[in-house]
Symmetry: C2
Subunit: 404 residues, 2 copies
């Protein structure tokens, strides 16, 4: 017996209705399944006030939908799974959320501490580490299940006090590097065997490291110091050489002033061998030679810089600013080390992110409730996307990068 168009006509009315209902139900089930698509051109935008993420795509430059229920997203950061299907969101409230980009849904959420400040994903994609203020230490989770795998309290001194942890990053191999604010130490924890974490401690790294970053090749770990002038630099190719301090002359006249505001969301401006660092309290971007970690130039800019972000082709560095200059973005030309353009994306620019090959820049303007997308070649605005108090912007290409 075969199905023919006449078969439907031969059915009784009730049967026809049931038959049509079955087809409709099957069709609905199919449309509820996520639409297959590549995940190489996706971006997540944090809507900080409402605990939501916007899922967007950079090919057509449009919003695809929202993912809700993520808790307190002020100061939130996220990392991607190695297949780019999932993102792991680190909330300031200690929440760790796993979201599915294709289903556009929250998969799981755990509150793993009282107060956290970012996290990282291991090189093999199997482990997440979260840096916690309270209680101080790191916790390590399985990326599949979000089950706790290891808990490493940041104990220091003879009384066993626990330090706030900041500046966490993945290192090549299965492990993480991070700084202990109160202890003035840098730790590297090897989780090749997650049941037996091995931690190497670098004591006397510097007074109050308050944030840090790792270079895109995973070689250099650089921590900004709050309690003394300068930066702490660790060469992971030569850890036996220990931590060295650089730029100690910078702002030495006022040691109470934090010298550098390191990028909070792990922006890193390395263009060739030059590093571009915001000099806080000063209207300048500091350029260092990473071969020697000595000063190359101080570039005068519009205000106090917050982020200095290198375009992926390393030809330009884009800079945003603290209040009252936070409505503008300046563009530094790397060959000439000079400001060549000033843009006005909107009020309260909080973050910038380039597409992986650098042809677009996405900029969040919190107080104008929009994300502005620029063509980096012409610096023309391509589109403005509405967003509710947007902050961090994270492209899915981070999945394939060390330290992001």
């Amino acid at each position: 017996m075969k199905w023919t168009p006449e078969s439907f006509d031969r059915m009784k009315p009730l049967t026809r209705t049931l038959f049509a209902a079955a087809l409709a139900a099957a069709s609905l089930a199919a449309s509820a399944a996520p639409e297959p698509r590549g995940t190489g051109d996706l971006a997540l935008i944090v809507e900080r006030a409402t605990g939501r993420l916007i899922l967007a795509e950079t090919s057509g430059r449009s919003a695809l939908g929202r993912i809700e229920g993520l808790g307190d997203l002020s100061h939130a950061a996220l990392v991607y799974s190695r297949d780019q299907r999932f993102a792991f969101v680190f909330g300031r409230d200690g929440g760790l959320s796993k979201v599915d980009l294709l289903e556009r849904a929250l998969v799981k959420r755990v509150v793993q501490s009282g107060n956290s400040i970012g996290g990282a994903i291991s090189q093999d994609g199997r482990l997440l580490a979260v840096a916690n203020y309270e209680p101080g230490g790191i916790k390590v989770f399985d990326t599949e299940s979000l089950e706790l795998v290891a808990d490493i309290p940041a104990e220091y001194g003879e009384a066993g006090a626990r330090s706030k942890v900041v500046g966490i990053a993945d290192v090549p191999g299965v492990g993480f590097i991070y700084s202990l604010f109160d202890a003035g130490e840098i730790w590297i924890t090897d989780l090749g065997d997650p049941a037996q974490p091995k931690t190497r401690r670098f004591r006397d790294a510097g007074a109050q490291p308050y944030d840090a970053l790792i270079s895109p090749d995973g070689r250099w770990y650089v921590a900004g110091l709050f309690g003394e002038p300068g930066l702490a630099v660790l060469d992971l190719w030569h850890p036996e050489a220990g931590v060295r301090k650089v730029m100690q002359h910078y702002a030495k006249d006022d040691p109470r002033l934090p010298v550098f505001k390191m990028p909070h969301l792990r922006g890193w401006a390395l263009a060739g061998r030059l590093a571009f660092l915001p000099g806080i309290g000063r209207h300048e971007v500091l350029v260092l030679d990473t071969d020697t970690w000595t000063e190359v130039k101080r570039i005068p800019v519009r205000g106090q810089p917050v982020f200095a972000m290198a375009r992926p082709d390393a030809r330009e560095v884009w800079v945003n600013f603290a209040h009252p200059d936070n409505g503008e973005v300046q563009v530094i030309d790397v060959p000439s080390l000079a400001v060549v353009d000033t843009l006005a994306p909107g009020r309260a620019v909080l973050h910038m992110e380039f597409t992986p090959r650098g042809e677009q820049a996405w900029v969040s303007a919190r107080d104008d409730d929009r994300v502005v997308v620029y063509d980096t070649r012409t610096r023309a605005k391509l589109v403005e996307l509405p967003a509710d108090k947007p902050s961090g912007i994270f492209m899915s290409s981070r999945a394939g990068r060390i330290g992001l």
Copy 2:
């Protein structure tokens, strides 16, 4: 009227059968649709003899399926769409094929020339350029439709002869750079307005450039010369300075010998500021300082190197060899510039590719019909995947990279 489990029982047998058939058909349609998945951990492996690609994934390290009907895949290369859903395969027979990774199917295939040698995708992902031997020139296609957008014959000299084109790469902005073997020229074509291509010619670039590459930041274009010793280097930040020749002393005693065999599939070994180039005809890898393009060291290796590939963390460079040493791979330690390990993946190692963050290396052994996956930390074999005469291996993370 509502659907209840009893409704099915109340149907007549014919109706029940039809109803079940309708559900089964709907279910089959759903299962024929591609299964949604992230595309960040995918790889394509060329099976050169049979015109097929293996689609694999690097999280579980398994083959997912095959894509067939791609023509002559000897010497084939491919690039990815910016969303990582599609790949564009450049065959030696002039075939240009678009494949869908999620559907695992050939979408479209055009034969665009008689003999081609690779291609590139523009920074914005909208254009493909193919380098042709016969007739000599480049052709530019729309990535969506594979329609021809621009045809640029590589004419030179007063008689209007056409040169073979080699060494094509994307440059930041909408354009491509390539070399003219017969003309000894390097051309940059700007396709910001595809209807009005603008080509800048660098004449007297060197005798017979036979292959070339671009640095990961898109700044340096380096062509190997067949007709004279040395390399032609163009700084795209300062094109007005023109092409300069470097390493002209290398092998100058026998100018008929090709000095360097540049990587055929655009491997590029840049570790920090050092470039690692295979010295052909010699059992050595040449290390150059890209600040000055002068020689740093010659590292003795097992045989004549074919590819020198930097691990993404720039800590190691892996090298394979021409016959009769093509069953081995050597590992160079970058800090010490010395060979530290020799691996034996199988007979006729043709290509190697690292996962984007470097924890795995995938190596094709043509004559043993397998791809061997290594843990780069321990150098243990993780798995061997059967493959029919495998050659090039291409990770989907290339979608987000300049020059790949």
